[in-house]
Symmetry: none
Subunit: 292 residues, 2 copies
Amino acid sequence: MKRGTLPLNALRAFEATMRHGQMSHAAEELGVTHGAVSRQIRGLEQVLGVPLFEGPRNRLVPTDAARALQPSLTEAFDRIETAVLRTMHTDRRVLDVSCLSTLTMRWLIPRLAAFQAEQPEIEVRLTADDAPVDFTRQRFDVAIRVGPGPWGAARALPLFADLTGPVLSPALCDSLRDPAALDDPAALLGLPTLHTRTRMSAWPDWCAQQGLPVPEAARIFEHFYFMLEAATAGLGVAIAPEVLVRDDLAAGRLLAPFGFRPSGQTYVALTPEQPSRDAACFTTWLQRIATG
Amino acid sequence: MKRGTLPLNALRAFEATMRHGQMSHAAEELGVTHGAVSRQIRGLEQVLGVPLFEGPRNRLVPTDAARALQPSLTEAFDRIETAVLRTMHTDRRVLDVSCLSTLTMRWLIPRLAAFQAEQPEIEVRLTADDAPVDFTRQRFDVAIRVGPGPWGAARALPLFADLTGPVLSPALCDSLRDPAALDDPAALLGLPTLHTRTRMSAWPDWCAQQGLPVPEAARIFEHFYFMLEAATAGLGVAIAPEVLVRDDLAAGRLLAPFGFRPSGQTYVALTPEQPSRDAACFTTWLQRIATG
DNA sequence: CCCCATATGTGAGAAAAACGCACATGAAAC
DNA sequence: GTTTCATGTGCGTTTTTCTCACATATGGGG
């Protein structure tokens, strides 16, 4: 059952349109398409029972009713926003961080306790994502991404280069018949090779680097960390970024007999051009542990 | 892609919960289940990054953050609602009329169709009430009241004098043993007498007029129109204003063997000193049908 | 201590709302 | 007449919100 209450989203779309003077600009502010705004406004006219805009399509003019309605709405939404922002920043300082999911799990989270110990009053809120980030439209303070760049209007702080190479478990390594095989990358092709849908080019790229034929995929995983778990379990060889397996290497859970090579991409911490103090604090800490 | 905007629905659920003191009541106001309100509030806590309620589940207590947030929200939503309602009534001409509930039911509503036929573009919105009306504080355009006057700053248009007298059903009338009894008002005291809490003085007043002793109350009703229904059903004799039984008399459902006498009070249509055109139109119509 | 009443919390699926995409349409400018 | 600009819209997808049914927590009363 639909509640008989105020169409708040439509009112917000209308108010933004009045403030900006046209639906397209309001759509930008709201992070939706102009079609969504258009529909909201027409729906609002149905509810209110009065037209809000008139005139030619490319130059809509607000009606008297619209002009009369807007000031109250603008003040109300301003008041709500102010109150909400005040509340959000009253209790705890929240830092919204968008990070690649595997990097989050395998590199960032294990180190995050150190940051929390240094800055206990900042709450880091992680969101797993790898889509392009637009700080004007999304409520993130920091985004960690990997790529060749450039990074648009965002401020990019390089963390570390993306180094990739084959990794396998010690048990799998021992299963190689000839111990001398570890001198020859081609020996790996005799083992099951693990792939992930999100990085299907990993093996072809590595093989091209080595001047080797591309092996037939032994297993394809939906998620990168599934593949890494499989590698750790000895199910095969995977091409992995060094940063994602650094802890496993250090712990002896994985071996990287042929090391890692630059993929041409870089891990970066992105912020708005004018980051908040907490965002700057966090990214400075990221750079520190990235080089440590 | 998710828009990074204020969670308006959640804020509204929260605000309603604060105003009502518990989620279940807020849910009633919003027309949803308590589960929906519960989820909205917990989601809002996630977004804001602060708890809004604490304490035992069956007696949640707002946090300081919640208390600080609510006033702005309440004012903002009130403002939005006021502005929206004002806009909705701009195009359609709405006339807010406050009227005695029994008069509304038994006299005004049966005649209202005639007014709508004459003025189809005016929507008459009725509110049953008998409290004193203050046009500077209440959003009424017209109020219909009965009393001795005076009527304060309001402009009062007299409609008709309040005439009261005993009424009973034909069946009850026939049950009187002596047909000549209808010449003697005292004969009525041999029948069950009906009273209403809101007009306990009706019978004493009438008896004083007739020089008769006050009868023992046979039945007392909470509402006037309940009493009138009982009289029509032959359960007893009631003292009624003529205007409220005019249609029943004309239809033969009730009899008034001893007629009606002025009670000293007058039915009036009240408006602000400067009534709107629609209010003037309506009160003119009221006077016309009152004398017709 | 048990039972009952009251109020919130939640899994899962359904319903509703909102949206994106791609294109259509109308009007003004050139 | 063409181009540009801005809104309008069909349709399918996504997201949000909700319901339902039950679970859980807590306090009060006997």
